[in-house]
Every structure is written in structure tokens, then in C-alpha cells.
Symmetry: C2
Subunit: 343 residues, 2 copies
Amino acid sequence: MTKTKLTLKDVALQLGVSTATISNAFNRPDQLSKARREHILAECDRIGYAGPNKAAQILRKGRSNIVALVLADSIPYTVSDPVASTFIKGVSSILQQQGKHLLLYAGDSESILDVVDFVDGFICYGAPRNYKLAEELARQSKPAITVDFDIEGLPSVNIDNYNAAYQIAKKAISPGDHVAILGLRLIESPSTCRIYDSPLIEVQTSISHRRLDGYMKAIDESGATITNDWIWHIPESERNFAKQAAKEVLNSNPRPNTVLCMSDIIALELLQSALSMGIKVPEELKITGFDGIEEADRTRPNLTTVCQSSALKGEMAAKALLSESLKSTVLPFDLKMGETVSA
Amino acid sequence: MTKTKLTLKDVALQLGVSTATISNAFNRPDQLSKARREHILAECDRIGYAGPNKAAQILRKGRSNIVALVLADSIPYTVSDPVASTFIKGVSSILQQQGKHLLLYAGDSESILDVVDFVDGFICYGAPRNYKLAEELARQSKPAITVDFDIEGLPSVNIDNYNAAYQIAKKAISPGDHVAILGLRLIESPSTCRIYDSPLIEVQTSISHRRLDGYMKAIDESGATITNDWIWHIPESERNFAKQAAKEVLNSNPRPNTVLCMSDIIALELLQSALSMGIKVPEELKITGFDGIEEADRTRPNLTTVCQSSALKGEMAAKALLSESLKSTVLPFDLKMGETVSA
DNA sequence: AGGTGTGAATTAATCGTTTAAGTGGTGATA
DNA sequence: TATCACCACTTAAACGATTAATTCACACCT
């Protein structure tokens, strides 16, 4: 009953024309007469030939209409993170609009070489865990664009993290404040911990370090104080990691009265922990976040944070990749003055 | 400087062996001597040949290691829905573990034929918007599995939605209750609305209809009442759609005292609206949800709902697809008795 | 010596298209 | 009437691999 899958050749044979003509009927309407084309298409429909095999097309044309989204973290983590999933949203809306398909590639996978041959391009979201991956990406020759981190020689989409951090910190900090920082992915450690030695010597071109620099400058300028052991490293913007750091920072003695958090998730966990410990926010503890997720505005008090549009970031990245120009973009951000910082 | 991309042939020529040998060095170690294999691999590394071109492999081998996840809704919607994104989580954890890649395919895309040729199999999550897609899926011959709906002839992963709905409704409803139902995707309409004519005539093998049947049986048995215009259709489990339905149901006169919701998101919006209108839950209004998302347990009162593991569903679907057995699975569910129903 | 089995490598067909180059045939132009 | 351009196709060479079938050399047995 079910014969082996039909090919161009079969169809050509049946219709008594060359394979080239069938191919042209599908791909280049101007290469044959309208009548013949319609006849061919109708005939294909009748005998059940659905069109040229895509796998063969990919090989021959060198184009697949698949774009790989290379994620810094695992897919499970990424889809559950509100910021990252909003980014995916932005990317996919553009891709769909352009008839492209989305391949999710987890940065902790073995090697990007698995897909580099058949994918049309890469959008790299966040600094990959294993630096090897970044190197491979840099070496290969397909179009690629980075988001929230940099690879030498590749265009990127980003906000000015340094300035954003600087500005939000500036708003939060008063002279004499004791400041702590809940940082995201500052070092390689897979668990939440303090950073005792100067974190500034870490060489990694990630947004976290830019933000850290911005925070430090603001602290410096404002006449506030911070010690190195008041900088925490949190490996992922995940509630449990954040909760642990929140506990540590709130139980430290003396306790900081201002905590700068590198994501809203972290800030929200801190806020919740503080409230449940009876600490008054912002009177006894000022908190700033980063990202501007929706939930951050639903809490009481609501969060003072840096708002950036992840969706827009995704759209810009996808657009940039698909246009052959491939230029870097710096996106705007907003400061949202919430109730976790005294006015 | 950069010469044209290296191929097997180039390498073979340079090393003075046949292409078959190079190919075997990468794919079938038993086909050549250990010494030669190591030499070839080292040499490839030296001259910068990263291994056989994947696009060519896909064509020749007929296998790509890519699995398509066919989503009922758009990607943007899906990644932002907690239930769906948890499902993706489950799927991708298994895929990654097996070295497979994940292609996200939005059900509202043009045609599945775009990818059917190079993908190894399909996981179909939720009944696709356009039924054409389902037909194409059923017709093609690659392994496929459905989740949360059925296609004639394809295996599926599911809970017993009929019984789950029946049981939760049974727990919630008392004799004499006036019941309303906030249903999900009961008809084709893209906006929230009531269903005036009997919805049971809708032929669609989706979980929503099974749930509806379960609810109806429970209502029937419990001596409660419902009218057809107290059944709402909500197109997506999205907060704004849900909010609108919540408003309508709460403002209807007389007002139902029991509302069965087909998702937690819907139930939570209803709960929030009710509380903000000063309606006492559960005294004046009993609410049940469906899914058992985390947020549903954080509210006060917390939700009475049907708990099912989306992650597990994803894992089972992926495992089933990858094992060549391809059998249907019925997963368990739990009733979570929360405070939105009086004990 | 002759037959045989084995391991290692090669040959050549194949996967299903696309597309540059070529081939007639027709009608217009000079 | 010769020339030229154009149209509508066909031919055949890629695209970059995999793999069944084959060859070859060598050692082992009897």
C-alpha cells in the first residue's frame, strides 16, 4: 500500500519532464510557463508529492530557515525564568513573522558543532557556562549575535548595564549607608556564596561585572561603605539560591541597610525574607532590583528597579540576525522608583 | 586566509586515504585500525576539520537528532504559561540527556511540512488551532506522540481528564448549588464568551471536552444546577481573558456559588476578582482550579485543584517518542483540597 | 601448495535536491 | 536571409556525506 516516499525524480518520470522543471515549478515560477507550472502543481497534489525534501534542500542550498537560540543555561531553567522566557517571546515573534524556525540550544550541551552545519545563524543569550562554547561560536562563520554578554568580534544587543547599575544605586544610596550586593554569576561557583577576594579581578565580559562596576562607582561617590565579604555570588536567578543569599545577608552582623540586587527575583526573595523577619522596608532596609518583571510591581512595598524590555531585546536580536547588516544595538532602560527605597 | 570549508574529500586527499576511511574514523571505529584512526583524528584536528557536515549527514542518514515540539499555541504564549513551560522543561531534560535537540514549532505556523523532512519525530502539545495541521501530522510517517489531546492512530500521554474533573467537582459541589464553568478552548472563538447552545455537540477530541463531561456528570449526580449560559469559553489560559470571564461570572445575576475552572490561572483570576469585590471565599463562592501550579498554593485562601505534573508529562512524552515502542500513557493526578472549597 | 578466513582499506552507488550551462525552436529585426 | 534575443526546457554537475559490496594482503591450517 504505502509505497516508498516520492521524490522529485519519481514525479518527473511520471509527468515526463525533467527534475529541473519540477524543481522550478516549486521554487522559481519564472522559469517555466504558467500552464505547465499549474499542471505540475496540480499533478503533485494528486499523486501526493508534498514538495521538495527539506533535508536535501538544506544540503544543496546551504540554508535551513532554522535559527539556533543558544542559551547560557539549561532549557528547563531558561523557560521558567520570567526574564529569559520573555526574551524567547521576543525572538520567536520575529522569527515566526519571517518564516524561520527556532531551535533551542542549551549552552551546557556538548558542542555547538552539533548544529552549526545546518543552522542559519545564532542568537546567544547570556554568557555560556563553558567558555569553550563561546570560542567555538566565535570561530565558526555563520551569522551570530550575542545578548547580555560579549564575544570578541560579534555584534551584540544590550542595555548600558554599567550606567543602569550606577544610576539605580545612586538613587538608593545615602551617605553613611552600609551596602551589600547580591550579584548574579560573578564567579564560576555553582552555589551561592560570598566573594571574599576582590571580584574585580575576575575577567569575564558579562553584564554582571559591568553592573558591579556601576554599583561600586555609585557607592564610592555616595560616601557609603561596602566590604568585599558583603558581595554575594548567586549562580542562577532562581528562588532557592536567592533565598539562601537573602538569609545570609539578613543575618549578617552588622546588617547592611541597603542591598543592591542584580535581578528582581533575587530582590523579591530578599524582600519577602526581610518582611517575614519583621524588618521594615525601606526604613531599616532599602532594596533595589534589576529587570523590571511584572511581579515586582505587584508586591507591597513594590520594588525599586531597573526596567528593561526583554521582549524588545529578543526582537532586536532576531531582527539584527536576519538583516544581513548585523550591527550592535544599545537599548534604553528606565528607573522605576518603587517603595523599597525611601523617596 | 580562510579557505573554503573543508570536506571529507579534502581531508581524504590530504591524508592519502579514501573518504570512506575518514568517515569510518568518525562513525565506525571498528572498521579501521586503531593507529590509523588516531592518526586521522589528530590530523583532522590539526588542519581544522571539525567532523562530517551535519546537513549532509541528515540527508544521507535520514536522521537529524532534532525533535520538534509542536505547540498548540504561539511560542510567546507557550513559554509564558507556567504549565506549558514546565512541560517543555520535562521534554528538554530528556532530550538533552539523549543528545537530541529541540525545535519549537508553533502550531499556528503555516505548515508542518516545513520541518517534517528533517526532524526525527514530533511531540504535539495540545490540540492545534488549525485542524489541517493535525491532519498533516497524522498523515506523515515519522514517529509522533500527542499530549493533552488525541489524533486518531497516534499514541498519547495524558491524565484521565474526565475522572479528574468529575472528582474535583464532586468534592466541591453540594446539593442545591448553582454552578458555573469557566472552560478553556471549548469552541473556536478567539475571545472570551458564553456558550449558549449545547457545547457538547462540539466535536473535538480535546481534554477540555472530557473535563466538561466530568463536570457535568458530577453536577448531575450532586443535585446541583447549571444552565448553558453559565458555561464560559476562554480561548487561552491567559490572565486577561480569564479576568474578563471572572468579571462576567461574578456580575451575573443570580450569581453562581460554585465555579469550576479548567485551569489554575483562570481560577486565580476569579479568586482575586472575587476577593476584591468583597465576596467571601468559600462561604459565598467556591472555586476549583486545574493543574496545580505553584502559585495556586501561595494565595490565601489557597486553591482547591487537580494536581498533575507537567514536567512528568513532558518526560514521558519524550521518553516514549525516543523509545521505538511508542505506547500511550495515562498519568496519575491528585486532588488538592485547598481553602477555596469548604471542607 | 592450495584453500580459507580475517582484517583493513577502497570503490562506487546513493540520499533528494538545485542550478549553471546548454539546446532547440520561434519570432522579430536588420 | 542571416542574426539575434528570448523562451521553455533539459543536461549534468554539484552539495557532503554513508555504506554495501568488493578487493587485497596476509596468516593460518591441513
